[in-house]
Amino acid sequence: MTLEATSEDSPVVDNPSQTDSSAAPAAQSAALQRALSVLLRLSEAVKRQVLGRDDVIELVIIALVADGHVLLEDFPGSGKTTLAKALGEAIVTANEVDGSLGAIVPFRRIQFTPDLLPSDVTGGSVFDANANHFHFRHGPIFAHVVLADEINRTSPKVQSAMLEAMGEKQVTVDNATYHLDRLFFVIATQNPLDLVGTYPLPTPQLDRFLFKITMQHIEREAELDVLDSYKSRRDPVASEKLQVARSEVLKARETIDQEVVISGAIKTALVDISRNLRADERVLQGNSTRSMVLMLPALQVLATLRGRSFVSAEDIETLLPRVLGHRVELAPGVADLGRVLKDCMREPMEQLARATLR
């Protein structure tokens, strides 16, 4: 039984400008500030299309830049397609000189059904009678942003094909390997209630998703806004469209990776928290080492969004429940993952805080 932290609690980035600019020097280098502006533009572009979901958008952006994937657990009509599409369309490939981009499109949606086949996802070899040889037809997975809708409705073999692609950023068809885009980003969804005839993703496969986000119904005001602005969002004026170049996102990813410092104390805390979780008798199966590795870039991105050039304890506090929510399996009879996490975090976080005074 896995349980996950919901996104109902506080927004991910609360006060990016908590520093007092008069006393503190510039917090981030110029390169990092450019990266931040890319992230902000990207989230702004999505926020214009998706209303009342700022917290989810932040997490999705973090996952995108941190090179992870997101599993959304929600109900029909909650705006997940809109979100994925807005994200895909906000990233443009104009002026790109990368030759391999020919087959890559900004956004694809795959509706998973029980009769779907792996080749429907990855693409397959097709015989070209004119050229008298097989050539590869790219599947919908060759896109920047892929919305894998109702991923638990399809058979395990399609799921595993999808997951290989997610993990390795490549597909292998007929013993030939095709690389996916460097920006390849999957937003998978599943309906947590309607489980008849589904193939629930096992924990090891869930492990490949950076975040599992459970969405709640949006606020009343936001819902009203959605209805009010429905028309303008459907036909956006081209000039108002905010767009970010794919190369900019990649550049930002690189900058953040290089410039945002993860101190040894932070890594120590992460490892200690994991070890505590595994040792806790309320936990059946603790989180993987991979989850920690995947988490590092996410922490860096969040630190950037918060205007810092280093990862701090509050980043861990924010992201850990979202990263571990679907990875930790609790013992029968234990329901409150939040509490378990809190107990396991307390001691390492205290050590982390004390380490700064040494």
Binding site: Q18, T19, D20, A23, A24, P25, A27, V261, I262, S263, G264, A265, I266, N276, A279, D280, E281, R282, R308, S309, F310, V311, S312, A313, E314, E317, V340, D343, C344, M345, R346, E347, M349, E350, L352, A353, R354, A355, T356, L357, R358
Partner: protein, 722 residues
């Protein structure tokens, strides 16, 4: 995680077990043998740990509280029956010897007693809210029962403490106080144990310092004085500064026999003396002058010249020449006052007082020598003498003869004297004895009566039910003597039965010995005590003469050096409590100073620090400062969270936290970890000291003055900084 939990609970659980067990030990120590006490302790600890460990697990969890209570009572009953069977049965005694059989019985009885009672108390405490109060009450009661014998300055009680201390040359009061401190600490610990045990050591330290300061206080300023009865107006405290002399000495119904045992003074006899009348009389003052309603301490200069009014720092002689020196012997007594007196008293009849060095000013309020010329006259010496002093002026003699304008006094006196044998009909002393005899035969001694607020209590007594205490008898006697023309007064002081002395040279005066008696003046003799002793009494005025205390205090008073020698002779093998106390005091002071030094150092460090260290030291100083105001990061709370919590009060702290973390977790920290030399770009660095000052200012605006003062005074505020 559950391991952690049990570990966390182990400390308070075992601590609580120890505290309750120690109260069993204290309770049992005077009631059973040493092994029995140990058994009580062990039984309590075991039961405590058992209940705490299993109260939430089956089968204990499934039992209702009532069932547990019945279970405990059954176990208790079975245990008591078993131990009774063991001790009364001859088989075991004949097999193992009577001592072992008795010990076994005691051990079993106390083991089961403490275990079952603890089971009951702990179960109640675990299940109900009021249970913890019961537990605390139990601990308090155990200590109170044990130490209740020690009241009103009885430093030798309870005996198991007093004897232990005295044989080792320790002042018992230190041990008694230590017991009190332990009791306070135990109770406090029990109170706090349920709340927050992480702060427990801190609370303990504070309480310990409090108890210790009490000890130090007593070392320097002495013990509180025993509370005194003042029905005779004997003590200085009762008399007040002076104006209270006209106070009504009849305060019936306010007499309380409960503290009658309290020691008042100890008298050391330097010369052999046995009183003729079976009682030692110590006169402190006298009521001689009639003020229109009753006899009071005289204001006139020419009355009672044989008495002095105040202590003087030097020797003072009684100016009045004493008659009949051939019928008196000189006795020197040394008197140590345990309660304050305004006037020195001495064995009848004192001729001089001299202050002496106080051998133990923790114990004695004042010590002085009283030189007395004690009367040794026989009946035949007194008979046939005239009353009054021929040297008296008529006014003086008249003053000793005034009495209420009530004709019944004279009528009654003449009625009594009518029975006198003709040969004695005109003899003053015989007349006095006849009146005493009348009072002896008809009077009833009682502390409770209803004469107090009559216009003339003596008349109310004498012509009423003749029920009263010494004050009534003495006033009635004095008035009757005066009615027939005998100069008389009421002597005030102490009267101690000669049997109390028990062969030693010291005599303990207890509050119950306070007394008043009529006395008449015979020519050529002086004041003669004619003390009525009613044959019937409604109260039991016999108290324990406290021979051991009498001897102990006498030894203390006897000689400055002898007691010290005794203490010194014992000290080599004894527990060096004084040295330990001094060492502890020094250590405590050193720790306090050290704590302040560390506090100041940590607050000032950023001002002298290397630039590379400034981020850390300034932040630590700021944290110290916040901690002194009670603002501390919770365990496991992130630095940002803490700063966020305080952001309403001190927004600058958020800035400082951010800057600090940037240095601690940012690029420079990473470089340092990799062994690179970090150069601090001073231009890039913020002004830590200015920020620190700004935060101080912000705190000042939000905190009241008293909290800031406390923050400055708190020596250990920095301990909580992490």
């Amino acid at each position: 995680m559950s391991e952690d939990k049990t570990q966390k609970q182990l400390l308070p659980t075992s601590l609580r077990a120890l505290i309750i067990a120690s109260s069993y030990w204290v309770l049992s120590i005077s009631l059973t043998t040493q092994n029995g006490s140990i058994a009580a302790f062990v039984g309590c600890v075991l039961s405590c740990l058992l209940v705490d460990a299993y109260i939430d697990r089956p089968p204990l969890r499934n039992l209702r509280l009532g069932i547990i209570a019945i279970l405990a009572i059954v176990v208790l009953a079975v245990g008591v029956a078993l131990s009774a069977a063991l001790t009364s049965n001859i088989t075991l005694a004949s097999m193992m010897g009577p001592m072992i059989a008795y010990e076994t019985g005691e051990v079993l009885q106390w083991l089961i007693f403490s275990a079952s009672l603890t089971l009951l108390l702990r179960a109640i405490a675990q299940r109900t809210e009021f249970g913890r109060v019961l537990e605390i009450l139990f601990v308090a009661t155990a200590f109170v029962i044990t130490l209740s014998a020690h009241r009103q300055g009885m430093i030798h009680r309870p005996f198991f403490i007093g004897d232990f201390a005295l044989t080792r040359g320790i002042d018992p009061s230190s041990i008694l106080m230590a017991f009190g401190c332990v009791a306070v600490l135990s109770l406090a610990a029990l109170l706090m144990i349920e709340h927050n045990h992480r702060r427990l050591p801190y609370h303990f330290a504070v309480l310990g310092v409090l108890c210790f300061s009490l000890l130090v206080y007593v070392q320097f300023f002495g013990m509180p004085t025993p509370r005194m009865t003042d029905d005779l107006g004997l003590t200085g405290a009762a008399r007040g500064a002076g104006g209270a002399q006209d106070e009504n000495p009849f305060r019936d119904g306010e007499n309380d026999t409960s503290d009658m045992q309290a020691p008042v003074a100890v008298v050391l006899f330097r010369d052999d003396y046995e009183p003729k009348g079976g009682a030692y009389y110590f006169r402190e003052s006298a009521y001689s002058e009639f003020n229109g309603t009753m006899l009071v301490v005289p204001h006139r200069e020419d009355m009672d010249e044989d008495l002095i009014e105040f202590f003087t720092p030097t020797r003072v002689e009684i100016n009045e020449p004493l008659d009949a020196p051939e019928l008196r012997t000189s006795v020197r007594t040394t008197i140590g006052l345990l309660a304050p007196h305004r006037t020195p008293f001495g064995l009848d009849t004192p001729v001089a007082f001299a202050n002496t060095p106080n051998p133990n000013n923790l114990r004695f309020k004042q010590t002085y020598d009283a030189y007395s010329m004690v009367p040794q006259y026989e009946f035949s010496d007194l008979i046939g003498r005239d009353s009054g002093d021929p040297d008296w002026t008529p006014a003086q003699r008249q003053a000793y003869l005034e009495l209420p304008a009530d004709p019944r006094y004279k009528a009654l006196a003449e009625e009594i004297l009518a029975t006198l044998r003709p040969e004695f009909a005109d003899d003053p002393y015989a007349k006095a004895l006849a009146i005493k005899d009348y009072l002896d035969r008809n009077g009833i001694y009682s502390l409770k009566n209803e004469h107090a607020y009559a216009d003339d209590p003596a008349a109310s007594f004498l012509f009423g039910d003749l029920t009263g205490y010494c004050m009534h008898f003495s006033f009635a006697g004095a008035y009757l003597y005066r009615a027939i023309g005998l100069p008389a007064r009421v002597g005030i002081g102490y009267s101690v039965p000669a049997s109390n002395r028990a062969g030693g040279s010291s005599l303990l005066i207890q509050a119950i010995n306070g007394h008043a008696w009529p006395e008449i003046y015979l020519d050529g003799i002086g004041w003669v005590i004619v003390d009525p002793a009613p044959s019937r009494t409604l109260v039991d005025m016999s108290v324990d003469p406290q021979n051991s205390l009498q001897q102990l205090l006498g030894d203390m008073l006897r000689d400055e050096s002898s007691f010290d020698d005794f203490v010194a002779s014992q000290q080599s093998g004894a527990f060096p409590i004084a040295a330990i106390l001094r060492a502890v005091a020094t250590l405590a002071l050193a720790l306090l100073l050290l704590a302040y030094a560390v506090k100041i150092y940590r607050l000032r460090a950023p001002y002298y620090a290397q630039p590379a260290q400034r981020y850390r030291l300034s932040y630590r100083a700021t944290l110290d400062n916040l901690s002194a105001h009670g603002l501390r990061r919770r365990y496991g709370e992130s630095r940002e969270g803490f700063a966020q919590r305080l952001s309403a009060m001190t927004p600058s702290f958020s800035t400082m936290t951010y800057s600090h973390l940037r240095r601690a977790l940012g690029a420079q920290a990473a470089d340092r970890q990799e062994g690179q030399i970090v150069s601090v770009d001073m231009a890039q660095d913020i002004d830590w000291l200015a920020l620190d000052r700004r935060i101080k200012q912000e705190i000042r605006q939000h905190e009241p003055l008293w909290r800031r003062a406390l923050a400055v005074l708190n020596p250990v505020s920095w301990i909580h900084t992490h």
